[in-house]
Amino acid sequence: MSDRQIVLKIADLTLRFGSFTALDAVNLTVSAGERVALLGHNGAGKSTLFKTVLGFLKPDGGTLTVAGARPGSDHARGAVSYLPEQVAFPKALTGTEIITHFARLKGVAPSRSIGLLETVGIADAADRAIGTYSKGMRQRLGLAQALIGKPALLLLDEPTSGLDPLSRGEFYAIIDRVAAEGTAVLLSSHSLTEVESRTDRVAILARGQLKADGALADLARAARLPIRIRVEAEPGRADAVRDRIGGDRINGRSVLLNCLAEEKIGLLARVAALGKDVTDVDITLPGLDDVYRHYSGIDLATHAMGDAS
């Protein structure tokens, strides 16, 4: 990956709204052909990061280059394509008209871009007013618009919100193809589960700080998240079981233990040695949500209070 050309380079980017720090010394690079998912809770700063990359917001610190140029410069604008999280195209225009409009603004021949409606699967509705489109169709039109002119960098802010699972699959298939042709893709999402195996790298943003950046499998391993083992004991034997293997007794019959991956076999051997006192063992491996929670440093209790910082 390192021999690939870096398209987006963000170094120590800090951005404030008044006294509130929305982005705090963020470092991130995206290379040509790479698919990077930007994850974060509501208000983490994902959209703010996109707007800074587009040159709409001026950084208070750090440096940022898009295809080697300053964000918002002619060269950078020519290289980047954007799909905002909320966009409502004029209802009275048709899909074809929107694509033609944006192709001309980007200096691309409309005839070379109309086929994108086919790519995203709304060619049938191309000449219908957008007012008659479903939510998913409008989202697809937004994607088609973003694909005009083979951009060097594709910025997609929550592109799959509002898409059904099948459409999400199609969406990521298109992203795969575009990335294979050399486009650097940075997309934001709320869920690790969704981007698993669909992106090369995930970056986790929490309260404006970049908490993790790497391949998902590496992040999961490095997190050293505990495996949960639940041991069911014979009636009346739960206390005895706990005394032998440790952990917490949670109701009359069960004992709950946490252990690291390398401790798992040893612990299971000790459980097996308990013989008849144990009736069942249940093992839960850490899930992607746990990995996400670990890196964003947010447990469910505080997250429920929202981003009212």
Binding site: K51, F56, R77, V87, F89, P90, L93, E97, F102, L105
Partner: protein
């Protein structure tokens, strides 16, 4: 070159949207309706006055235009930036290579085209109706008056399209932009003249009336438009109120035209400056 393509693209889309959203139809019908009504009422029984019927209608139409044209111009333009900001399309557009100045010029041209169509069709039909009824006769000069009226109407409209876009660039919500536009219309078109009339009555022909007053009238775009048109009509055209100034202006009448052009320049500059500050 690519800048020209971008401007043409946005202007065309803007005009197309105005057609689809029925703005073009509404503006044209309104102007046609009022102009025709004046053509039949205002050109009255001919022969009594020495003025030709076309000039006579143009006089009353210029007074009506001061109210209607700015209103239509503001209605067409108040949504242009605030609306796109609200719908999220502005960030899409500004992510493309288009410059904000280009975007503004393009939208301005698109809105102006709507207005131009409405004025040419509406006032054109009215002129034909007058000629049909009274004939052109020896008064071909009326045609010049009429063309001058249409051209300056467009200039007046351009001023208010520019003002509407400045208002739109200063608001993040279309609701606010709409309210501000109505306020601006009331202030410049209605309240300004009322205030001046009030001041004259209080002053009773004193220093104010003789010195500052003509300049204050001329400084208002609507009044400048009306004075410019009325001052160049035959002396026999009946005029009243503030328009009495038309024949006693302390400045050459070209000043009125200069005032309109200055307003247009100021409105567009303000719109560009405000649009530069928008964070989409």
């Amino acid at each position: 070159m690519s800048g020209a393509i971008r401007i043409a693209t946005v202007a065309t889309t803007e005009f197309r949207l105005a057609v689809r959203n029925r703005w073009v139809l509404l503006a044209t019908l309104t102007l046609t309706g009022f102009a025709l009504a004046l053509a039949f009422l205002g050109s009255g029984p001919s022969g009594e006055l020495k003025v030709d019927p076309l000039t006579l209608t143009a006089a009353s139409l210029s007074t009506l235009s001061v109210y209607l044209v700015p209103l239509i111009a503001l209605l067409v333009s108040y949504d242009s930036l605030a609306g796109e900001l609200e719908r999220g399309t502005l960030s899409l557009v500004l992510a493309t290579p288009i410059r904000r100045t280009e975007l503004l010029i393009a939208k301005f041209l698109g809105h102006l085209a709507v207005l131009a169509l409405a004025i040419v069709v509406g006032y054109g039909i009215a002129a034909l109706a007058v000629i049909e009824r009274h004939g052109l006769g020896a008064h071909a000069a009326g045609l010049v008056v009429w063309f001058r009226l249409m051209a300056t109407c467009l200039l007046l409209g351009a001023v208010f399209v520019g003002l509407g876009m400045a208002v739109s660039a200063s608001c993040r919500q279309t609701g606010t932009a709409a309210a501000l536009s109505v306020g601006l219309w009331l202030l410049l078109v209605v309240l300004y003249d009322l205030a001046l009339l009030g001041a004259i009555i209080v002053d009773r022909g004193g220093l104010f009336t003789k010195t500052i007053f003509p300049f204050l009238v001329l400084a208002n775009p609507g009044d400048a438009f009306r004075l410019f048109n009325l001052a160049q009509m035959d002396a026999g055209t009946p005029i009243a109120g503030l328009d009495g100034l038309a024949h006693s202006l302390p400045l050459p009448i070209g000043a009125a035209l200069a005032v309109l052009v200055a307003w247009l320049g100021a409105a567009l500059s303000a719109a560009v400056a405000l649009a530069r500050k928008i964070t989409p």
